[in-house]
Symmetry: C2
């Protein structure tokens, strides 16, 4: 997606620890025109597979899910993050563990069982794919619902980390709008 690629090259900053800072337009202050185009792009990529629900994770995935949901006219579900498994009710919730390599934290995500049926066709969306921890946890939640997984849509894939490889080795239908090959010396090189 050229518009997102150009915007990243123009406005993103590279921070120590292979972090791409896109807070000024993607996940802290949101450029709604760009976000609308991202939603249209994901709708074009995945719409033909007739998803019935979008699943994302709070908080940065929400604007992406909202705009794609608007385009496809289907609901979106926000997996909530909790510090500890004690906030999950196993009789009411699906849950999975996530370890964030970037933030060096571990937490639990959950969604209510009432939001999914085995007939659902679920599209997972998120802002970044690095080591794939969040995506793998969301995939695990979809597995628990017994719904079908349509695919995983990502705005910015860090292709030099292990996430994309892991998802593809599992046969997941992954589409990343922008793929970053390297951040060496603070320079963003794209595939």
């Amino acid at each position: 997606m050229d518009k997102l690629k150009q915007r990243i090259l123009r406005d993103a900053k590279v921070l120590p620890g292979n972090i791409i800072k896109v807070g000024g337009f993607l996940n802290h202050m949101v450029d709604i025109g760009l976000m609308r185009d991202i939603g249209k792009e994901f709708a074009a990529i995945f719409g033909g597979q007739c998803p019935t629900k979008i699943l994302t994770i709070e908080a940065a995935g929400i604007p992406i899910a909202a705009m794609t949901s608007l385009e496809l006219d289907i609901p979106f579900v926000i997996a909530k993050k909790f510090d500890s498994i004690e906030y999950v009710n196993p009789s009411e919730d699906y849950s999975a563990h996530v370890t964030s390599h970037t933030k060096k934290t571990s937490h639990v995500i959950r969604v209510s069982k009432s939001f999914f049926t085995p007939d659902d066709r679920v599209l997972i969306l998120d802002d970044f794919l690095a080591y794939g921890d969040a995506a793998l946890a969301l995939i695990e939640i979809v597995r628990q619902t017994q719904a079908s997984l349509v695919g995983v849509g990502i705005c910015v894939e860090k292709s030099f980390q292990k996430g994309a490889e892991q998802l593809e080795s599992k046969g997941i239908n992954l589409h990343s709008l922008v793929r970053v090959q390297s951040l060496e010396d603070g320079v963003i090189t794209m595939l």
Copy 2:
């Protein structure tokens, strides 16, 4: 807003501690048609005052901000929550303290200083107004930016708690789409 009112009366659940559970359509699984209408309603209420930016707080405020932002064609800023003040950089961020009466937790919210100028006209949006803790913290952030505060838009006001009174006593331009007068005996009574 009658559509939201009817949906709450039909689908919301009242939990102990005066909690209204709207997870099935407003803040956990999101009905995008309803959310679009909420965005249009806030745009109609506040659009005449020419806001230049929307400010909300993660995570439940994000879909509301996104849909209103789309309607008004202005960016929205997400105040991020942190457990501790140590994650805030005073030279780069505006910050404020929030105490959640519902969750019995205390945290810090922050936004980057680079997102606002004194010329901005800021509209604050959130899902619930109870004791007003989040709203007051967002108002404090707007004060620090030296921008103008256009008003505060809320989906569901619990009018029997102190938030609305506090905001109005400060002369804040508050608009709530739905006002709940009482949750006694688990029955939702609206104003």
